[in-house]
Symmetry: D2
Subunit: 345 residues, 4 copies
């Protein structure tokens, strides 16, 4: 049994990790931490887990947690992980960081978008944990920077088209919509039921901090730096991200070619499902699972590709992909603990 | 491996059975039938199952299905099961009927509420499949009448109080609220998103057909026939039933006594969780799981018990309990295939 | 033109008052106050009002507000109004208080449920503003205590049955469900979209502070003090309260008699609609309006009345009834500014 | 008083017209028709209107309706209006058609997208009823083709940028999301609560029939025919459309210039509100009103405009704009009957 711990476990991402790990067949969840709920049973804060775990939230130092586990998940806000991760590195523990702190390779870029970094020297060791693209590197990694939710959907959505050199890079636009759990469990007016239900809006237009992460990864795939337009929207649902991605074709590409490129690219991947021709994903068909569903279309009238990718933001967009990465880092089956079937309807 | 079939598999209950059985470790789902979608892959009608099953809906006779399976689930409308079940009885197959057709012991009562019965002679063989109350009988049963969703929540909610003889029987009121999946997948105006979202209403006030089923079972528990008031409401959620049940105490009962009676009654049951003192269930904490959560209160000002029970109507209220019954009928672990953790948030 | 002000205008109730008053034909909304948003335009905090008002939130003393208006609405939390109202009383301004501070006639009862009162001497002057029951008193009132949302639905729901002496008082149970706006706009975990959507739960079981208010008014109607059981639930909708109320009949009452008693009781009331026989209210049919819809049923099997009442909690349950009271206090048409048709779907 | 009738009044659009017209100060709603509900009171089908109208649905010939009204609204499905409208034309009645039948000027284009037209000769007489763009023509029109919901949001969103010649026409992409009421009240699986709630998906990708309507109008504005990419999505809300529109700048345009172009273009329009700099619309801030809210952004990194427009699809996207057009055709105030304030929250 792998001994795992979650540092910062009381938010939605931390809880989703807890939910997955308490029934993971090869993992013992050794500790979960929370300042706010220190001493309280997880099942009291989240009665959904009643009867499933006796764990209590601890307010413990990273050092103590390090001594109790083989691998740690950091489910902390951006800017906090960077203070904690070095302690686990020094203790020679495997680390999967779910914040943005180690996702960007370029320290300057990080600091432009997020502010000062306190352990920037670790950036070069961190592996970007988009499992389908970097499994070999993840296998050997000590520190995995788990991808953002929007980037997961957009990068998986674009990878086959870009690898096949189908698109004019300057034309790419990602129009994305996310469920509210992406905003976390901190009480804030903009996440209140009455502010969200019945609504739909764009936010952080032209300035969302996932932009450089997406561009970094698309740049790696294409070998070229370029900018995209990315517009996030807030959906009145709890879970799910759907990204509708547009790009002009460089040359003529038929729908059949485009579709086959996707099927072929992902044919060995358990967690990416390419929709049949003429079908497109719905977030409710991936909700509760680690799947990314992708549908493609060729808009002949404008010679443009339309690529649509859907994930559960808390699973493939966060905790599920983190566990997928843990499985690979620890030599387990890639889908261990991740076999939940989407909950539909 | 048990070979199972689902007769009438394209509605929400039939699909929930499919969803559970495709990942059940001891079951091979041999056939699923549907007239409307005959010949189409399940995963095309329900893309949530894409990549998880290659099954196609068949339009097959009961006789053919009987020859292909050890146990059959009938997920048909009331009044249809009664035509089909005898064929499986004659073929010596185990049957779990999810309709109301074999739930009532009294043929006259059935016909008063539902209309003419076409295989009333089977009523005496059928076992009412409320697992926590009738496991020994279910173990030996050939034909299990799987309980209704509202009755499951109300009977589990009342059983400990009634067994302890705490309540005046004539005072019992069950005020229940259900998610929309209880109305099935047939397109009808009252189930449209625009008719349901943002709304809340009572329906079939004083005449819902689950009433005699609830009264039959409460009568069995208490050894006395009596009537209750039962008011169902429609909630703007997909899944879940919450029943708030009121009853006057016969004598003084403290909250501690009441709570202990519940804890003790259900202490060996995996799928009933009694909330800690002062806590009450929420349907979102059982959603996606086979749990029934129950909370209790003593209203001292009026000497009344308030008992609140929550289930996922498609799981513990239908497909999950059916699988729980199958497990018992087939000598499997009671929770095989039913270990999904509630999906929260 | 009546000059009105709203003290504490940035919560949902205060905003709903603002929304109604900016288009009231006989009112000039002279001032709205808010500490948190002082200096900011209302339309910036609530873009729904963009182009409809140039008002800015002020952080002004009650004395200054008093000098600027004829009538003031206090949309403050319980325990805060009691400090402010006396200033307006002394300034001889009409006051409509939307908090609970002046609703109870019995100081001791108030302090039992809410804590110390700081202007208890005003209790005897305050008129309980349930418009349909107390219009003559409201007409002459200086200080109106606007009813709570749950009480409005329950008292209007029970008044005709109680006036007709139909029910055993000790048997009355009110099972109510409210939309989330009733919890206000303060950021708190329990009001987050992810905590509420897809859920349904009872809360403050047996101890909600609207209980004594309901009992006081039912006691006034019947001339007898008695206790009821009241269970509030949280609905995943923004607006609306539906109360399902149960009571045993003292004697036999036919459905026709019961229904006629309701029709007759409310026949001159513009804002109470009694549903046709066999129909029951839905919160979505009153949402956005000042209506209270009421449906009745006789459960012959248990000799019990089932009465269902629905309101928009922010309108008839708060701001709308407050404006209705203002209209009466100021000699305007009772429905001035309140003619919005329910927004359906 | 203008005498108005609604032909085909029982769907959501027809009901929204009814809801608006029963409280329109200058209109007598003389007749509403419905085959399905013939003889039934509107208030029985839509209890929201209980007490507000005694109208019953009629199953009456167009000729009879023509003799009873000055102006008729056709709220019929595409392909049905074309059979009915000529009768009202011959009777010299004013007509506002809410279907697509008279929106396209080019008969061939209509038939390519919709199938055979039965009264194509009327196309040349019809005026496209986007009020803000065509008020002078609407004033003189006999037959107004009321715009589609998506086109209203997209054309109003793009008009100022195109009039100012800011954008490369071939680069325009409209990514839109609509509430479910846009699919009408016909019972169909895809509109069921359980299919929609918690979900989000694109549909009719690259082939939605509003495409030629949008292109026709953008072509008129620019004097050039060109194609756009338009992707509709289905939102889990009842009402509202939000379109996020992308276009590459031809030359450098600052955010200030872009914003001023919008403010100036719409400064005399009552129903278009341009958001302050840095703010973007939310459908919940226009819901229940006839407003179109528009926000703009300049994405400097890619030299692209991002324009976001929100409407209530049943009001500004259908019934509200129809009434706005009626007001203009009949010489009434443009906002008569349309002064409802958005219902927020």
């Amino acid at each position: 049994m792998i001994k795992a711990a979650i540092y910062g476990a009381s938010g939605y991402t931390g809880f989703e990790l807890t939910r997955i790990l308490v029934s993971h067949p090869d993992v013992e969840l050794a500790a979960v931490t929370s300042r706010r709920f220190a001493g309280m049973p997880v099942a009291e804060i989240y009665p959904a887990l009643s009867g499933l775990t006796a764990l209590k939230y601890q307010n413990t130092t990273p050092e103590e947690i390090a001594s109790a586990c083989d691998i740690v998940f950091l489910a902390l806000p951006h800017g906090v992980s960077m203070n904690i991760a070095p302690i686990f590195v020094n203790a020679h523990k495997k680390i999967i960081d779910l914040s943005a702190d180690y996702r960007l390779r370029d320290l300057q870029e990080y600091e432009n978008w997020y502010g000062p970094h306190k352990s920037g020297s670790l950036l070069s060791q961190a592996v970007y944990g988009l499992t389908e693209l970097y499994a070999p590197e993840i296998k050997k990694a000590k520190l995995v920077a788990n991808p953002g939710c929007y980037p997961t959907s957009i990068i998986l959505g674009l990878a086959p088209a870009l690898k096949n050199n189908f698109l004019e890079l300057s034309s790419i636009i990602a129009d994305s919509a996310s469920g509210v759990s992406g905003a976390g469990r901190e009480p804030q007016i903009t996440s209140l039921f009455c502010e969200v239900d019945g609504g739909y809006k764009a936010y952080k237009v032209g300035k969302h901090r996932h932009t450089p992460e997406i561009e970094q990864e698309l740049g790696k795939i294409t070998g070229q730096k370029f900018n995209i337009t990315f517009t996030p929207h807030l959906l009145p649902v709890k879970r799910g991200i759907l990204s509708t991605i547009y790009g002009n074709f460089k040359k003529e590409v038929s729908l059949k070619q485009l579709h086959e490129a996707y099927v072929s690219f992902y044919e060995r991947e358990k967690f990416v499902r390419v929709c049949p021709l003429g079908q497109y994903p719905n977030i409710s068909s991936v909700c509760g699972s680690n799947y990314c569903d992708i549908g493609v279309h060729v808009d002949k009238r404008t010679n443009r590709a339309i690529i649509i990718a859907a994930i559960d933001n808390l699973i493939k967009g966060a905790a599920g992909q983190a566990v997928q990465n843990m499985n690979i880092m620890c030599g387990l089956r890639e889908d261990a603990g991740l076999q939940a079937v989407p909950l539909y309807p």
